[in-house]
Every structure is written in C-alpha cells, then in structure tokens.
C-alpha cells in the first residue's frame, strides 16, 4: 500500500473538484478524462470544512450547491430525522449491509403510515401508490459516476460500528460527511461535491485505502 501512496502523495490533492454534471460525457473515455483535467484547473479549491462532531474521524472537505430535484412525493427528511429523531438507518436500512443505502421499500413507509398521519396529503399520495401496488419512481440525487465503486457498509463500519466513541444514535453525523445536512431538508439536495478530491481528502485524513482499484471499477 505504501508504495502507491508515495507514488501519488501530494500530487493529487484537489479538494472541491467538480465533474461537470448532467453532461453526457463518455464514461471512462478520453473525453471524460479531458473533462476532468479541465475541471481540475478551472475550479479554485473551495474552503475546507472545519471541525467535526464525530470522534476519531476527519470529515471530507468541500461544498457543493446542488440543484433542486423534484420528487414524486415531497418527502420531508426534516420531520423524520430532526423533529422525530428517527435514525437514518431505520429507513435506509441497507446502508450497513450493502454497498447502497437504498430507498426504503414502500412497505416500510406503510409500516408506520398505515396508522400515522394518514390524513396528510403526502401520506395520501403514498397510500395511493401502495394501493396501486406500484412503488414511486424517485430521482437519484447523490449519483456517482459508473466507474466508481463506493460501498456504504464499509464506511458505516469504520465510522460508526468500529468507532467506540460514536453512539450509533448519532449516525446522521457520519451520513452528513457526504450527504450534508439532510436533517434540515425536506427533499434531499446534493450539498457535497462527491468528487475524487473530496473522497481523497477524507481517505488521507482518516488513513483510508489508496489503491486505485479499491474505488475504481
């Protein structure tokens, strides 16, 4: 590991790099690489985020101003996670078991909402989907390029379950590393750049792996 690390050390630290969004660039193609290079030099490094509330962890650096994404149901993250204090992993239950955190299945929503707040318009909308036996078609907010292998389970393990000083109730602080303050949002919006520089800043600070094939596929 150390070999590769030295090979690249200090030369690839570009926090806050942005990959052009929504552009149909040939994945893992020459065009894609050139776009990345252009982006590397075009973007000024953004201010690093200072301090962390998670012990034994240094969060990645960078901010991003994502677009508003219209969802089929205007899901209020704030009511669930902030006001009612529901653990992120209660709904995104796959995060600790799989590479993807997953959108909760409709049955999970109905587990509560067949009795709770059934008169609210958004819940009525949900009930309608459930009765039609058709899950809502959400739009993906936090998308990574296809050439990136990211696994939620290992990050959750490292920062939550293997972190003796972080109670699992505070998992949202770890989620916030990459997803921002979802607790304060209704519909999720991208707040972190999720670029290679962003990932790297965290891997560097927390002694994460540096082998290219760990994350690139």
């Amino acid at each position: 590991m150390s070999g590769i690390r030295q090979l690249f050390s200090g030369r690839w630290s570009f926090p806050g790099v942005r990959i052009p969004v929504g552009e149909r660039a040939g994945l893992s193609s020459t065009a894609g690489f050139l776009a990345l290079v252009v982006a590397l030099f075009a973007c000024a490094p953004l201010a690093a985020q200072a301090g962390s509330t998670v012990p034994n962890a240094v969060p990645p650096e960078g901010t991003y101003s994502g677009k508003d994404v219209p969802q089929p149901i205007e899901f209020p993250h704030d009511i669930h996670a902030k006001i009612n204090g529901i653990n992120c992993m209660y709904c995104h239950t796959y995060a600790r078991r799989s590479k993807v955190a997953g959108i909760p299945p409709t049955s999970k929503c109905m587990g509560c909402h067949s009795v709770i707040a059934t008169d609210k318009p958004r819940i009525k909308q949900l009930t309608e989907y459930w009765e039609k036996r058709e899950p809502p078609h959400w739009l993906k907010v936090h998308d990574l390029p296809d050439f990136v292998h990211f696994t939620h389970e290992k990050h959750i393990k490292r920062f939550v379950f293997d972190n003796p000083e972080l109670p699992v109730e505070q998992v949202s602080e770890v989620c916030a590393f990459c997803h921002g303050d979802i607790k304060d949002m209704t519909v999720a919006k991208k707040q972190k750049p999720l670029t290679m520089g962003f990932c790297r800043s965290c891997h560097e600070a927390n002694n994460g792996p540096f082998d290219c094939w760990k994350c690139h596929k």
């Binding site: 929504g22 799989s98 993906k140 296809d146």
Partner: protein
C-alpha cells in the same frame, strides 16, 4: 470442495409464484453516462423479501434448458435482473460447471428479437393479437368443437422431459393422437439403437472416467455428443494420473479429436471396417478369443486383416496395430461411435462393429454401465433423431394432419431441401408454433405463441444422461417475465388440456399449481424427512435437484447381427461432412451473439460458415485458405470459404452446421450457409435415420479471397518455436506425476 462452501454461504433462495422481485429498471444499470444528479430514476421495492438487498446479488437454483442434458444452474439476480449463470454444484450432472451454451442462455432470455405477443396469420401476414384471441382460436381449431379425429393432430418437438412431457403425453392421449415427433438434428439415435440391441439398454452410462483407453469413432463427447459437461468432468478424471489415452478416428477432426493422443483420419463410412480390423488384430496378434462370437461376425472379423483394412479405411496398418496394442494392453477401455460413423446407409453396422470391440475387450459393465432404473419413466427424457423428421415429412405427404404443433424443433431449417418440407407444410391447414423467436418454422405457422424464456418459467427436467445418483432437476423463474404477453410452456399445455379434459385439470390454476401437486404426490421416501409438502418443495427448489436414488439393472452383452459394408463412393468425388460444433450446435444458438463471436475451436472462424479440407484436397481443387468454393450435391449447392488443415480425410469436405438462417433474428439471419440443405435423403438401413454423412459432393473453386473475408481469430497457425503450448511425453508424466 471449497466451491460448495462458497455457494452455501450465498443464500440460495426460493421464489414463490408471484413472489418474483420487481425488476428495478434503471437501477444500477451500467451506462456510458457519468454523473446524473436528479436524472436517473430509482425505484424501490414495493415489499421485498427480507433477503433481497439492493446492491447484493442473490443466487437462485434452476435448470438450463438449452439442450436435453439438464445441467443445474445458479443464477445471480440483482435488482430483479438475472446477471450471470454458474453451474449448480448440487447437480451431479454438471457439478458446478457450465458450457458456453449454458452461459449464453442469458442472451436467449434478453434477446432483442424475442416474440413479445401472439401472432396470427391473416392474409398471409403474421399479425399481433392478444392471448384471449389466440386461445379462442385454439379452442376453435383444436378444441372438441373442431370435430377433428385425434390422429389429425401432430406435435414436433425437440427433447422433452419432466412434467412438460407428462402434460404433452396427457394431451396426446386426451385427443387420441400418437403423432409426437421428437426431432434432434444432432443426435445419437443409431448409437442408442445399437446399445439397445447389443447391451439391452439404449442409454448406458459412459464411464469415461474409469477407462484407461478410449477409442472413439467420431463421438465428439467433449463438445456435441451426449451430456457434454458431464462427459468433460469424467474426461478430466480420465486425464488424471494414471492418465488415460484417447484415440479418435474420424473423417473431420472434432474438438474431442483435437484433444486425442492419436487422431487418425478415416475414410467416410469406413469406421466399421476399421473396428473389424482392430478386432482381427486383437485376435491374431494379442490372442483375444473371438470363438464365442456368432459365426458370421467371426467371418467378418477374419475378412479384414490390417493391411486390407488400411487400404479401405485410409488408416495406416501401423496405426491400426498400435490402436489394437493399446486396447489390449490397458484395461478397461471404452469404444464409442458417433455421428460420422452413424450417418451412412450401413451406419448401424459401423456402430455395431465398434460395440463389438467393447464386448471383446470386456468393457460391458465396467466402462459401460446400465443407465436403467429411473423410477419415474413418465418423466424421463424423450429424445429422437432425424428419422422422426423423415416420418413427419412422409405423413405430411399423405396429408395426414390438420393441426401441427411445433416446440423447440425448427424442422424447416434442419430439413434437407430435397425433403420439400416447407411445401409439404403448406398443405397443413393449421400450424401452431410455441417459440421464443421467429425462426424458419415459426414463419410458416398460422399461429405463433410466444414462450417464456428458461429463466422466466417453471418446469422439471430429467437429464438425457443420468449421473450415478439419478435426479430430477427443477426450473424456477429467476425474474419477472420481460414480456407480460408470453406464457410458460407448461401453462400453454395446461390450457390446451383444459380444452379437452377440463374436469381433471380444473383444479390447477396454472402450471405452478400443477407442479406443486405433482411434488406433493411424490413417494414419501424422496422427501427426506421433510415435515410438510411445503418444506419438501422449498428444499427441492432451493437445491435445484431432487435425487431419486441410484439406478439398478445391469447390461447384458449380446452380439446382434450386423454386416459391415465398405464405403462405395459413387458419383461425385467428395463426401460432405455436415459437422456439428458446440458453439451453434444444430443452429439453435445462432441467434446468440456471444456464441457467434466465440471462435470455432478448430478453425477459429467467427460469424460465418466455412469449408474444411485437407491440403491434398485443396491442391486438387486449386483453392487456398479464404478462397470461395462451390459445394454441389445432387440436391443443391452452397458456397463457403475454404479453411485448410491436416485434420481432414482427403475424401471429406466438412461444412459446419448452424449458419445459413433465413430467419431467426438479427444475429442469425443471412449469415453463412446451411449444409443440411444439400443433403441427400438416403437413410440408414436398420434404423431409418437420415444417412447425413453420406452425401457426395463436387467442389469447385469460384473466387479468390476478395470481398467478404473469412474472419478468424488472428495469429499464426503454428507456434514458430515459441514455447507457448509446451508438451511432455506420457512416460515423463508417469514418472513425475504418474501413479502417485
């Protein structure tokens, strides 16, 4: 074994009917688009099973239906899509392994040319209709109201087994028809007939693994002949120290021949003479006692000493002597005979002469074991050959049928042109094709009913060649049907049966319900302590197979009457060898792009047909590799590009099967030629099989290699002194790794 360990840790799951996970279209599907913030759709499951986790593949057991071998498979399903197949280690047929066709069945399932809805012929054109209309039409044409006598109905299928075979038989009995033609263009029908007559069992188990020497007269058991994955595992065993010796005698080198320690070219049709000469040598040189053989057989053996046989067969006396010495020296041995030996007017006699060697060498009961004793004969695989095709055509000739059903078989493609099958079919008032694709036969049909793929359907399969522990293999759907307007074959049969015998079958809503009931009715001894039918079913589907015990029965060697004939070689100068390969088989895999792009093991040609010939033949014709030649028989001509190598008998011209489709989708259509088309209609005397290796042809060079090229995997044909494939002699091997 560690592979088993791995598989057991991945949880093998069972799907109930209707419990198939939703296909999450768009989820985690590789694309060439990079970041799609707020654009890509993600669809969550509605109410998934607890074990279904996005991002993690779940393995399900099912059965491969690409051929009749019945290999067990595990399919990896993620986000509702089946992504990859592997062999099921629990199935003793293939023990965790899979051939190229099994791997490529994914492409039959996801094929872009699948038929998605029923079609009916109106004004000469096939028009899309709904299943309601299709069923109404079926009721009108084949229901009791059709008023047709049972004998007016016929089925043409490929190998069928399991409960589909039971339902098909039930339907035949319900209408009162005997006309079920099982047609396989690539088959071992003559071998089976000889085994029946000389061993008392038409499907003996081939213990390749137990043999010390194998002599194969063109039986391509590693590639196209029999249960090839099962054979391959036994072959690996055979090649493990103490290492067995493989001798292959055939007019065109097959994959098995390419792996032989000694490959000898035989003049087409002279296999029987070669076998007799080996028997002669065994008696004359090695003192084998032939006195118990019937007098006429003894006389035939005496008639061919090795020098005479060498003149007739083209195999040198030295080689014949060496083969006889090998067989004498190392026991047990195993003598096999395949398609090239069978496909002549006296093919039966060729195979019988080969079988005689097994009897003389005492192989019966050692490397040839009884395959009898499968406790459910009604489920056993029903297979066939080309005789069924000829019989079917003859029946059409006499206008015997009003309704013909097709499933699996594609006779319009596999029938020789001289049979005029297409024209004869035109005289059948109502033809129904159950198929996934619009192949040549479906194009002639009046009603085309789209089937589910093997990965979407329920079923049971019984292997054509049972392993030591006999089994029934289960097929379950691994994903939701891609097209809602398709039906499973079992469901279609059930619908047909309900037209005739509603009361008996009314209890079954669908084929799944029928299967559940059939499994509940299995004897308690098979249920291995399951506390309920549900538990038994769950275990069976999870494992993918149920073992039904070792077979019983033994073989009794008996030399049947046979008279070997020398090849006559009349008419045109060369014999056409329509050679089957594992990639395209009899043409049924030609619509799978992976198999089209997989180079032929011998010639390394892709996406095309070619004509194989020996350098001597090529010199006579004046052709070089890549040149175009015209191959003409009495019944037509085909053109192909030449591939020259020394794995041919100079009298033979080999053209591979599988290409030359006039339909069958974008990957198959209009590519290469179909050698079956120019075959003559001569038959094998004793079995009535088509003498498919007996057509004489004239070959003329018509053009240089210009334009359409012969495309093959690049590189040189020889190693040129580079140590790429290094070899070691068997003596050295015996010393270093030998009898450890």
């Amino acid at each position: 074994m560690s592979l088993d360990k791995m598989k057991r840790r991945e949880f093998l799951k069972v799907l109930g009917w209707g419990g198939v996970g939703t296909t999450l279209a768009g989820c985690d599907m590789p694309t060439t688009v990079t970041v799609q913030e707020g654009e890509e759709e993600v669809v969550a499951y509605l109410a998934p099973e607890e074990y279904v986790i996005p991002g993690i593949g779940v393995w399900y057991a099912t059965t491969c239906a690409q051929c009749g071998s019945g290999c067990g498979v595990h399919g990896r399903v993620r986000e509702g899509r089946v992504l990859k197949l592997e062999g099921n280690p629990d199935s003793q047929v293939n023990r965790g392994k899979l051939c190229q066709a099994g791997q490529a069945s994914l492409q039959a399932h996801y094929n872009p040319d699948r038929i998605t809805a029923p079609r009916v012929r109106r004004n000469g054109q096939l028009e899309t209709i709904g299943w309601d209309q299709a069923l109404a039409l079926l009721e009108e044409k084949v229901g009791p109201s059709s008023g047709l006598a049972g004998e007016r109905f016929a089925w043409v299928t490929d190998t069928v087994s399991g409960h589909q075979a039971v339902l098909l038989k039930a339907w035949m009995e319900a209408v009162g028809s005997r006309h079920h033609y099982v047609h396989e263009a690539v088959n071992d029908a003559v071998w089976r007939a000889v085994c029946r007559d000389m061993l008392g069992d038409e499907n003996p188990r081939l213990r390749i693994d137990k043999a010390r020497v194998i002599l194969s007269f063109g039986a391509d058991f590693l590639s196209t002949w029999g249960s090839t994955v099962q054979n391959s595992a036994r072959y690996a065993e055979f090649r493990t120290a103490p290492r067995g010796v493989l001798v292959q005698a055939e007019p065109k080198m097959t994959v098995t021949g390419a792996n032989a320690d000694l490959w000898v070219p035989v003049r087409p049709g002279a296999e029987g003479v070669l076998a007799l000469a080996i028997a002669n040598r065994l008696a004359a040189e090695h003192g084998r006692d032939l006195s118990k053989l019937p007098a006429d057989v003894q006389q035939q053996v005496r008639a061919y000493d090795i020098d005479k046989a060498a003149r007739i067969t083209g195999v040198s006396a030295e080689h014949i002597a060496r083969i006889a010495a090998l067989l004498n020296e190392r026991a047990p041995s195993l003598v096999l005979a395949g398609t090239p030996a069978e496909g002549h007017a006296r093919g039966y006699d060729n195979v019988a002469a080969a079988m005689l060697l097994n009897i003389v060498l005492g192989n019966v009961g050692k490397t040839l074991e009884s395959g009898a004793g499968f406790p459910f004969p009604q489920l056993a695989a029903k297979t066939g050959g080309n005789r069924e095709l000829l019989d079917f055509a003859a029946a059409l000739e006499s206008k015997s049928f009003d309704v013909v059903f097709f499933k699996g078989a594609n006779p319009v493609y596999t029938a020789p042109e001289a049979l005029k099958l297409k024209e004869k079919l035109a005289g059948v008032p109502f033809k129904v094709a159950f198929t996934q694709f619009e192949d040549e036969t479906a194009q002639q049909a009046d009603l085309v009913l789209p089937l589910r793929s093997m990965l979407e359907d329920w079923g049971t399969h019984v292997p054509t060649a049972q392993p030591e522990q006999m089994l029934i293999s289960l097929q379950q759907p691994l994903m939701e049907p891609l097209y809602p307007e398709t039906r499973g074959f079992g469901d279609a049969l059930l619908a047909l049966l309900k037209l005739r015998k509603a009361p008996q079958y009314a209890a079954y809503d669908d084929y799944y319900a029928y299967l559940r009931n059939a499994f509940a009715a299995l004897p308690a001894t098979l249920k291995q302590g399951a506390i309920s039918d549900q538990q038994f079913w769950t275990r069976a589907v999870q494992k993918g197979v149920i073992e039904v015990g070792a077979g019983s029965g033994s073989l009794t060697a008996r030399v049947a009457a046979f008279t070997v004939a020398e090849p006559a070689d009349q008419g045109r100068p060369y014999t056409l060898v329509p050679s089957a390969g594992a990639n395209l088989h009899d043409g049924r895999y030609a619509n799978l792009p992976w198999l089209q792009e997989l180079p032929d093991p011998i010639s390394k040609v892709v996406w095309d047909s070619w004509a194989e010939m020996h350098p001597i033949t090529a010199a006579k014709i004046g052709a070089k590799t890549g040149d175009r030649v015209r191959i003409e028989s009495d019944h037509g001509a085909i053109e192909a590009k030449v591939y020259i190598y020394k794995g041919m008998h100079p009298d033979a011209i080999a053209v591979p099967l599988g290409q030359g489709h006039e339909a069958y989708g974008r990957y198959a259509q209009g590519r290469g030629v179909n050698p079956l088309k120019i075959l003559g209609l001569a038959t094998e005397t004793k079995t009535g099989e088509l003498a498919h290796h007996a057509t004489r042809v004239q070959v003329t060079r018509i053009a240089d290699k210009v334009g359409d090229k012969l495309v093959k995997l690049g590189g040189s044909e020889a190693q040129l002194g580079r140590k790429l494939v290094a070899t070691v002699t068997a003596d050295v091997y015996a010393r270093t790794e030998g009898e450890a």
